[in-house]
């Protein structure tokens, strides 16, 4: 009996597909890559996943894991592999208001979780731009961050415990230091099936300051002034501001969870937030649909920003943590390498939040490669979750 026949005995018929239409659609995520899949499985529970992975391990079938499919580096794009889509594992299992934690299945959509938590005065505070679409499994696997990373950091800061199915189909409860291995594992070491997440209280107050800047010196001065008080510091360059219909200039929007901001009226705050949240949309509608996420030490920002300006690309970013989103047109994809080389020269990271995926592996250092290979050996020795490009 082949892999597909065995899987059909485990999951219900409607939860496995080899239809041509599904194969076309599931070959994509939000990156510009196109892959190839043989069929798609939607498991309903961890037992099904364990059985599926055990068979895949025995039959040497490759599996690509998928959550909301909003990844920007091709992590969920299959390479002649089977897609395991976690979207149907979408139950919130426990909300504990005494100890402020929640236990969720991996396919829960982030906004669905926060809508539930809001009723109880609680919040999972990491809020990537894709918050309405991305899943808990996806944000853990990419160690995502949001606009408010100055205060809340990355997903790794909010994990208590994970349930994982490794490459040989074994169930593993991950705690302590090992959490950092799976948080950011980008689907390479195992399926994250369940997570226990730390929560914070809902945000009660928001104020904002909006500054027009004449030069990078002013930007650096403002970052220094606000860094310890603000939860988000968003920079917008001239090109992006013109796409947003603003007076073309460099801007810094600082967000506070107390009275520190100059703008305190709800309506005015909402208006500025709408502009800030609409940046990605504005750039996409102007054909700058390829987004990158390099990160440097905050002190290196003036050098990086000057170089990006010379490249003539619209950019914005979470400058409080040194992360800049530089956008490119689809036909300019080749130019991203120049940006990454520059960032590495500045001692920075080629990805501050989106991950490495299939797009950036050639920029990994030897140390990073060794680290990944050692975990691969330990958790997925037969490469069920895909081979590494450089091996």
């Amino acid at each position: 009996m082949g892999f597909l026949e065995e899987v059909k005995k485990i999951v219900e018929n409607e939860n496995v597909s080899e239809s041509d239409l599904d194969k076309v659609v599931y070959a994509f995520d939000s990156s510009y890559l196109e892959g190839k899949t043989n069929f798609i499985i939607w498991p309903r529970n961890v037992d099904e996943i364990k059985k599926i992975i055990k068979i895949a391990n025995r039959e040497r079938v490759k599996i690509t894991l998928r959550g909301g499919g909003t990844g920007l580096v091709g992590g969920a794009v299959p390479e002649n592999s089977v897609v395991l889509d976690l979207s149907k594992m979408n139950k919130i299992l426990e909300i504990n208001t005494d100890e402020n934690y929640v236990i969720v299945e991996a396919g829960v959509i982030l906004d669905d979780l926060n809508n539930e938590l809001e009723n109880k005065g609680l919040l999972f505070p990491i809020r990537p731009g894709s918050h309405a679409v991305c899943t808990i499994g996806g944000i853990i696997a990419t160690n995502a961050a949001g606009i408010n990373a100055i205060k809340y950091g990355k997903v790794e800061n909010w994990l208590i415990e994970l349930e994982v199915v490794t490459g040989n189909g074994d169930l593993k409860i991950v705690k302590g230091d090992e959490i950092k291995v799976f948080c950011g594992s980008e689907g390479l070491y195992g399926v994250i099936t369940k997570a226990k997440l730390r929560l914070t209280k809902s945000i009660k107050k928001t104020t904002i300051s909006k500054l027009a800047l004449n030069n990078y010196e002013e930007l650096m001065k403002a970052i220094k002034e606000f860094k310890d008080k603000a939860v988000a510091l968003e920079f917008i360059d001239e090109m992006t501001s013109s796409f947003l219909g603003m007076q073309p200039a460099m801007y810094l929007i600082a967000e506070f969870e107390d009275d520190s901001g100059d703008i305190k009226e709800k309506e005015e705050i909402e208006k500025i937030m709408r502009i800030r949240d609409g940046i990605y949309a504005a750039l996409v509608s102007n054909n700058y649909s390829i987004i990158t996420d390099p990160q440097v030490h905050v002190d290196k920002l003036p050098i990086l920003l000057k170089e990006i300006k010379k490249m003539g690309k619209p950019h914005f970013g979470h400058v409080g943590i040194g992360l800049i989103h530089v956008h490119f047109k689809p036909e300019e994809v080749g130019e991203t390498d120049r940006l990454y080389e520059l960032v590495l020269k500045l001692g920075g990271k080629i990805s501050g939040e989106h991950g490495i995926g299939k797009l950036k592996q050639k920029f990994l250092s030897e140390n990073e490669k060794e680290r990944i290979m050692s975990f691969k050996k330990r958790y997925d020795p037969n490469n069920v979750f895909g081979e590494l490009e450089w091996v």
Binding site: V25, S30, G69, K88, V133, A282, S285
Partner: protein, 114 residues
């Protein structure tokens, strides 16, 4: 805005009633945009309520429901119609309503709809 502007961000899935129930990318507006870009014409384009919820969230301002309607027109021209659709049109022609013959005081058992 045309479908070539679709960046596959997935924002259109958020409030799509079909996607929220079925959880299938292929039935989602993003999936349909992928199929459209590939010039694949299929009856899957009938699985849409034309409610336009997807358009409210689309950063590229693509008129998704208009695109779906255009494909439906092409499908009909190519004689690719769903049985329910054919039956509904036949009922309207014959009985003046999409349900078929309705007996006095009875509620139709089957609802034929696009």
């Amino acid at each position: 805005m045309g479908i070539e502007k679709c960046s596959r961000c997935g924002f259109c899935k958020v409030n799509c009633p079909i996607f929220r129930v079925m959880l299938s990318e292929t039935l989602s507006p993003r999936g349909k945009m992928i199929l459209l870009k590939k010039e694949i014409m299929d009856e899957v384009f009938y699985i849409c309520a034309l409610c336009k919820s997807c358009e409210e969230n689309c950063p590229a301002e693509i008129k998704i429901s208009e695109e779906i309607k255009k494909i439906r027109e092409k499908l009909i021209k190519n004689k690719k119609e769903t049985e329910a659709n054919k039956k509904m049109i036949e009922n309207i022609r014959k009985f003046g309503n999409p349900f078929g013959k309705i007996e006095e005081g009875k509620i139709p058992r089957e609802l034929y709809c696009c």
